[in-house]
Amino acid sequence: MLLYFKYLSILFRSQMQYRTSFWLLTFGQLLLPFAVFAGLYFLFSRFGELQGWSFFEAALCFGVIHMAFSLSECFVRGFDMFSSLVVSGEFDRLLVRPRSTVVQVLGSKFEFTRFGRLVQSAAVLGWALRNLPIAWTPLKALTLLMMVAGGILIFSGIFILNATLCFWTVQGLEVGNVLTDGGREMAQYPLNIYHKRVTLFFTFIIPFGCVSYLPLLFLLGRAEGHGLLYALLPLTSILFLLPCLAVWQIGVRHYRSTGS
């Protein structure tokens, strides 16, 4: 873990060398999700509601998912860029070092410019929270934290899964986007608006429903049952992350260098 933070500080200093480029990129990163959010806002202003969900309720869902996504994109970016490590043969170097491959790949790349995205999602989240009549209790605050944390774990799992594919295909595949970008795009709305089968898939296979939709019900006071259950529900994301890490280990053992 200490090693990981050391990697971070090195990468941060190296990226700050190009300051203008850094700020331009950060700002650009802010604009992309902003456009998507503007689309959501315009749709609500035209249609009024989304199957019983108000704008701020949807915005809360949007904020949580985008915050989780941007944080995991910041910190797990190494896995996203993994195919380049394999293609260039750099991965061989990591293998001979006496440290876990997971930590090294995590630290190989770190995209601080993604903070733009983070700022945007934080703003949306704050705006939504201010405008929602939520009766705050410590348990609800905990739930909100757990939602973001759970989201980070799920996205990280997907990033790792995508990277593992590179061991077999060498090049990253666009299909991976279905789960990362597609998952984000989908989970930014309350899950119950989708077709039943889609909802089930994204609750029980990839537990987006457990970190966004179900705890959201509790936060908004729409849920029945004990609150603690909902607060702990995002923990199911660990059940998703563990097999992903296991697959990664299998992939590392299967790895054959490209020889370049």
Binding site: Q29, A35, G39, R46, V178
Partner: protein, 267 residues
């Protein structure tokens, strides 16, 4: 002319090699199409006032968007051209016996077309056969269809001209990423890539009408769905031609300026 054709052909054949990537693209596009449609279905299900676009029109719009993503998306960029400018190999490019603008234009055009050709037909076949409300509908008449093809083609040329303007800007900025991201984000929104223009509020529509972007995406697609009637579409084609001339003229002007002060970086 023959030279440009062979550039296009070469680029085309190279891109056709990536068949697995195309298959992956098809799956991705179908998935995203479904997600977007489900969101719209949910919005439309409780709508009291009649929206300016029917759900069927929106669904068709989304499928067209997914099919022709490669033709219209502004964020697609050609890494080769960046390399040329920032890496210094632009010097070779200048030795070629043809205009650099036309050469790059052909290259960008061929890349976009070849990227789409492999993908759009399988997707088209699937989405035409899908059940309600996910299926894509046919255009209202042969006239609308032909005009759609024409306006899509003109829109494509406009997108290439815009991309080239972005590339040319690298001569001044030297770092592509930030500025492209901004132009792409704003441009795609104003083109109707995130939501169709008629669903935007009035002031946003006015803004979109003043800029070239909506003529690349929103206009051709609404001609296909019949949301824009045939007579209006013909007028629209003229506007497209006007913008195209303007964008290309600007590109030619800027590139001649840039080349006069070009500094070849290193060897």
């Amino acid at each position: 002319m023959k030279m440009y054709l062979s550039v296009a052909k070469l680029r085309f054949v190279t891109n056709l090699q990536y068949r697995t990537a195309a298959f992956a693209g098809i799956v991705t596009q179908l998935f995203f199409g479904f997600i977007f449609i489900m969101v719209y279905v949910a919005f439309y299900s409780r709508s009291s006032a009649a929206p300016p676009m029917s759900l069927q029109e929106v669904v068709t719009y989304i499928w067209l968007q997914q099919m022709f993503l490669g033709l219209i998306a502004l964020y697609f960029r050609d890494p080769d051209i960046f390399e040329l400018i920032t890496g210094g190999n632009i010097a070779y490019e200048l030795c070629r016996p043809c205009g650099i603008y036309g050469f790059w234009f052909t290259k960008v055009l061929a890349t976009r077309v070849s990227g789409v050709v492999l993908r759009c037909f399988p997707v088209l076949l699937i989405v035409l056969l899908l059940p309600e409300p996910y299926g894509m509908s046919l255009p209202p008449g042969i006239g609308a269809f032909l005009l759609f093809l024409l306006s899509l083609f003109l829109g494509l040329l406009m997108v290439c001209a815009i991309s080239l303007l972005i590339y040319i800007s690298i001569f001044w900025t030297m770092s592509p990423a930030g500025s492209i991201l901004m132009v792409a984000a704003a441009g795609e929104f104003l083109a109707g890539m995130i939501l169709p223009i008629p669903l935007m509020p009035g002031w946003m529509q006015q803004l979109a009408n003043l800029l070239p972007f909506r003529w690349t995406v929103d206009f051709p697609f609404r001609v296909y769905t019949g949301n824009i009637p045939v007579e209006e579409a013909l007028m629209g084609n003229l506007v497209q031609l006007f913008w195209l001339a303007l964008l290309i003229g600007l590109g030619l002007l800027l590139i001649s300026r840039a080349l006069r002060r070009v500094v070849v970086q290193g060897g």
